[in-house]
Symmetry: C2
């Protein structure tokens, strides 16, 4: 029998009682968020029609440790603490001296890390008497997680699901309905924005940008309705830091520490969750330096090919302007299967840390991630979602580098969700129907040319 454990587990009493706010430790503060009309920094009141004040306060706070409410911790107990695995069997399959670890968030009921933020978001809305939350979803992980959280707190949930996903992923829709959410294909006839788009193009497939516009439109019309976002914003990234705080504890149990931390990034919530507590600890001089790698799809490479500048968060230009790596807010990414990484921009905090040199970005092509996912499943059993398979592919590259160099480094990646609702993607992969996309340089250049002209 193995002399080393396969899993490192904490007890329920070890669930962290605070989230970590990296804004407290930044060597340079985050650039201001601007009002698109005045180009002046926005204040909490500008966000109040969309979010409850409890979340707006978190969005702008620079306090390091933010208390997690007891009601939120009680729900976290359903799946937290999450397990840290040592990938003994993958190491053997690769023949590498590397020590590969993965933290697994797929055992949350909605199947991904998204529940870590959907629950506090629903909670703060509940506290302020909100009756309904609207949101958008692409692949469906976020919509499922928010639907579950709203059900737990007795809040109505309305999800606009990008029409192409609505049709391709009926079982994600079924999961949201299981949790009592109302799901509409976007563009829909339920909003002015949706009706206007359908009038022009009745067959429009939808996009996250359009779905955001629909969700926001409903929220601003009704004082009892607010809007929720599953990534990008500071408070969302902060809720996910429970993952990294726990993982640091689990590494202490293992008597080890990562040399390399790898996570995929679309809007940044998964990446921030695992990486920010480690980066903060290093910034404060409390732990040794680790390479931190943010992995994005080669078909949608905002960090590696985009521009760090002010842009809108959505395609419809309803949001404030944020400084981030962007491919241009009118850019529509190619149809890769990792729907959670198909975003034109990047969470401002992640962009800022790349800019500061704390994070190393890298892009991987689609076929490499599916190859990595199959190798992983055959060694470790768990079928990963396409999104975290981006991180896995880079973890494998680094493990093979260790083999070449004869060095045993500790490599950590975050397996943020399972692939049970992505089996069509794997079916297409095995049938040879998937391909790598050329980087859409022309479309990006056009989208970047249309960026708002910001003096700041």
């Amino acid at each position: 029998m193995a002399d080393q454990p396969t899993k490192y587990l904490l007890a329920e009493k070890d669930i962290p009682t605070t989230w970590y706010n990296i804004q407290a430790d930044l060597p340079q503060p985050l650039p201001a968020v601007l009002h698109p009309g005045t180009q002046q920094p926005i204040g909490p009141a500008d966000l109040a029609p969309l979010f409850p004040m409890g979340l707006i306060e978190q969005e702008v706070s620079t306090k390091r440790d933010i208390d997690i409410p007891g009601e939120v911790i009680d729900i976290y107990r359903l799946w937290r603490p999450s397990p840290l695995y040592r990938a003994h069997r993958l190491e053997k399959a690769l023949g590498t001296p590397a020590r590969i670890y993965y933290n697994y968030e797929g055992s949350s009921p909605s199947g991904s890390h998204k529940s870590n933020t959907s629950v506090p978001q629903a909670y703060y809305n509940k506290v302020e008497g909100v009756k309904r939350i609207t949101t958008e979803t692409g692949a469906g992980q976020w919509g499922s997680a928010l639907a579950m959280a709203c059900q737990f707190f007795g809040i109505d949930c309305k999800v606009f699901m990008v029409k192409v996903s609505y049709e391709q992923k009926p079982y994600r829709k079924a999961m949201m309905e299981m949790f009592g959410a109302q799901v509409s294909a976007s563009p829909s006839n339920e909003t002015e924005c949706g009706r206007a788009i359908l009038a022009k193009d009745p067959k429009c497939n939808g996009s996250l940008g359009i779905a955001i516009s629909e969700a926001v439109e409903l929220a601003v019309q009704d004082p009892n309705t607010k809007y929720a976002l599953g990534s990008v914003l500071n408070h969302v990234l902060m809720h996910q830091t429970i993952v990294g705080i726990e993982t640091m504890q689990k590494f202490k149990l293992a008597g080890d520490w990562p040399d390399i931390i790898v996570a995929c990034t679309g809007g940044g919530s998964n990446f921030a969750g695992i990486a920010f507590p480690f980066i903060g600890s290093k910034l404060r001089g409390e732990s040794k330096e680790a390479r931190v790698i943010a992995v994005e799809p080669a078909a949608c490479p905002s960090l590696t090919k985009g521009k760090l500048t002010y842009d809108f968060g959505d395609t419809g230009h309803l949001t404030p302007l944020v400084k981030m790596h962007t491919l241009g807010s009118t850019f529509i990414p190619p149809g890769i299967h990792a729907g959670g990484l198909r975003y034109h921009g990047m969470g401002p905090l992640v962009s800022h840390l790349v800019h500061l040199g704390e994070v190393e970005p890298v892009a991987v092509p689609q076929l490499e991630i599916f190859q990595a996912a199959v190798q992983f499943a055959r060694a470790e059993g768990i079928i990963p979602a396409p999104e975290p398979s981006h991180a896995l592919a880079i973890a494998i590259r680094e493990a093979l580098k260790c083999k070449e160099e004869g060095k045993s480094r500790a490599i950590l990646f975050n397996l943020c969700g399972h692939g049970h609702f992505d089996m069509q993607a794997y079916t297409d992969y095995f049938a040879g129907k998937l391909r790598d996309y050329e980087y859409p340089a022309e479309e990006v250049a056009m989208a970047l040319a249309g960026l708002p002209n910001v003096a700041a």
Copy 2:
């Protein structure tokens, strides 16, 4: 915050090192298995063309504790020990004074308890040099679990999947292929049996009985190929007892003990897994008496409406004769969504314990189980498979009885798998397309009339 834990967790070092063989504690021994030609008890040599000797020895052993090989425990570490949950939120939703507990086996990579036996089965085949294992699968849980185990041990895996499921559940097929298995729709052109059936009826939908015949036919033709079964047999039920042994340890952690133990039963492996260690402990006078309830579908009620007699294990009459509760081996159960419970017979050990009065059988209709599943998901987050939702429905009935009587009993049920690959069933339920089936009394009477005439 809650003052009581939500989960009771053991450490990896607490994984049991022996399985529990209830044959050691039976007040009356299990009736012999008979050769269909001679009607004489069969011996190990009769089973050798199908199974490796390591498993045949377990099938007939009356030793109480059977060692789990270290190589098997090393793989169990990927998901074991499994968590025991206290269903605080469901209790609150029901307003019951009952203490409801559920043991969750859905966090195994294949999504159900089936991996607990697929891994040792593949292991004992590997030890004896077997190169290929054939099997049948209906809904796909067993096929997925065996595919994963064969991949881990480097054995080829060939799965005959009932054609109607093959077409309705392409994602279970994709999961098996992810683990490297070869999957064919049954009846297939690959066996004499399949070809004969297709010659008569080219559109035949298939059945478990036919798929078993195809898998057995390939196994007996080739000395390097063996056959594996996911339930019914004594050794399969014994491998699952790791669930109940762990659960007894977890109840000690909780400082509680079940008054009522509920599990669904098709062939009996899930039921045996959770219940046999508790029943054995009570038979030996080591722990207090608990009511043990075996739950089956009203549409396929072998324990509550079948006959306890000798019958074949398969529709094609290739297996030995076993004494069990049966609806007749030619009976084809109605198309309920709980594919794992659509079996004409019952594991002989489960039948024997019902006969001895140690187990109380009950049947539930389909709509009640889906209603229970939705109520559970909305309270606890986890979406259950239709099979364990049978147990859940009875746990809810018992919890409501506690409420009526003002009594606080501890109710344990085994949540043997998640419903991520059953979302079509939930979609149909929400669309009002599911119905309860009348008990097919005439078909059962016809099937029972055709039972073999056994003198024993």
